[in-house]
Subunit: 137 residues, 4 copies
């Protein structure tokens, strides 16, 4: 995470997110990463709902998730999100998901996204969003 | 179900669909009902993907689900779907979800749907789909 | 809702909860109802995680959902939850899900639950939880 | 995939799996990978439901997913699954998810799993499952 601007969001584990191993099913962390991304953008003034209304999409091209420990129903989790790398047409987000009360790391992850337009063509990330997502401030 | 045309689809329970009670989480039956509906329409020649491409949507306005017994990972389930009632702008589907090997009933349910157009306005169900969905054949 | 004690919880719509109709998929309201129930119990001092650790489960036996309007990504929703009826072995929850900023009603719903023990047998709701869930205070 | 034994499973995209980009939400491929894994094990005589009943779990420790193209409602997808590497306490699965009618590749992925027992301790993969999962036959 280094000196990168990091945004946090905290919420309770939902019962529906558990599986028969008595812990959160591993696919749900991918949804939580997206929720971290949404919060990062809202906090940066680059609300993703507005990005889409403007005709651009940050489609996921890759995810890498490292599962370190399990979240359980009855706990709250904190998702920490930052921009790992910002290029003209792509961006990479970094994540750390922790138990909100103990701080224990549950997951570390990254995801890559490509900017596309309504026709699905690769596009430059519009300047207004680039500035807001920039890691240099 | 009476004399109504009924369509079946069978598939294995997914691990992700279980919860910490060691059974399928109750929200997943709502997804399975939709899958039963999709299969009913495909089998009737009224593929819902085509309905939407034609500019109509059958938006859900209500569901009623009765949970009788639990499905578990390692089992296969069969969803039986039929049209309970077909009106000019609305339709009601009926469902029975059973354990595919024992036949034990797991869930009985109904769902109501309203036909709307791309602008979200209530619309008549187009004649081509009405005929295919009709219970009288 | 009348004079019943009602608990609210508010959260943002997750992108993963939308479907290709551009609104929240109807199955997710069932998960939100459960989240409302979890919050109701936490607020009442009857944390459901503790109920389960004590060896009891409130298994869902039925749900009825009325869809009035749609939630969209970019919005926040509020789930209002109350105990509609409390009996020795069963309880019914009532719900109203609204758009958190406009107050517009999106969904009204009820769900029935049966108290069972670890062996899956019907059981009386333990007194300590009955008192906390009681509608008379 | 080379000479490795590969198991396929094919199923229709569920409407609930789409998002407002009109394609399957990227988190669902993680669930499909698990379904591929379940099918691989059933086809190998190593049904995962039996592995768990025997007291062992293959907990996910990492996933890497590369998104190449999108699946849509109305399509069927095929998940191809193989064992990429089998060690005494760990195994890695490889996946290719394709459009079932065109064969176009949608996703390539791997996932790592650690064998643990009921107490959550790292354990050797029992010999009976090792033989069935072995890539050398």
């Amino acid at each position: 995470m280094g000196g990168k601007r990091t945004v946090e969001t905290t919420f309770p584990v939902r019962y529906a997110e558990t599986d028969q191993m008595q812990v959160v099913h591993h696919s749900n962390y991918v949804v939580w990463m997206e929720e971290g991304r949404s919060e990062f953008m809202r906090a940066s003034g680059a609300d993703y709902a507005q990005v889409e209304r403007g005709g651009h999409y940050f489609t996921a091209t890759g995810i890498q998730v490292r599962y370190v420990a399990s979240a359980r129903y009855g706990e709250r989790v904190t998702v920490r999100t930052w921009v790992e790398e910002l290029r003209s047409r792509q961006l990479t987000f970094g994540y750390e998901i922790v138990n909100a009360s103990t701080g224990a790391v549950l997951v570390t992850a990254t995801s890559e996204h490509l900017c596309i337009d309504r026709q699905g063509r690769v596009a430059r990330i519009p300047d207004q969003w680039r500035k807001l997502l920039s890691t240099d401030h």
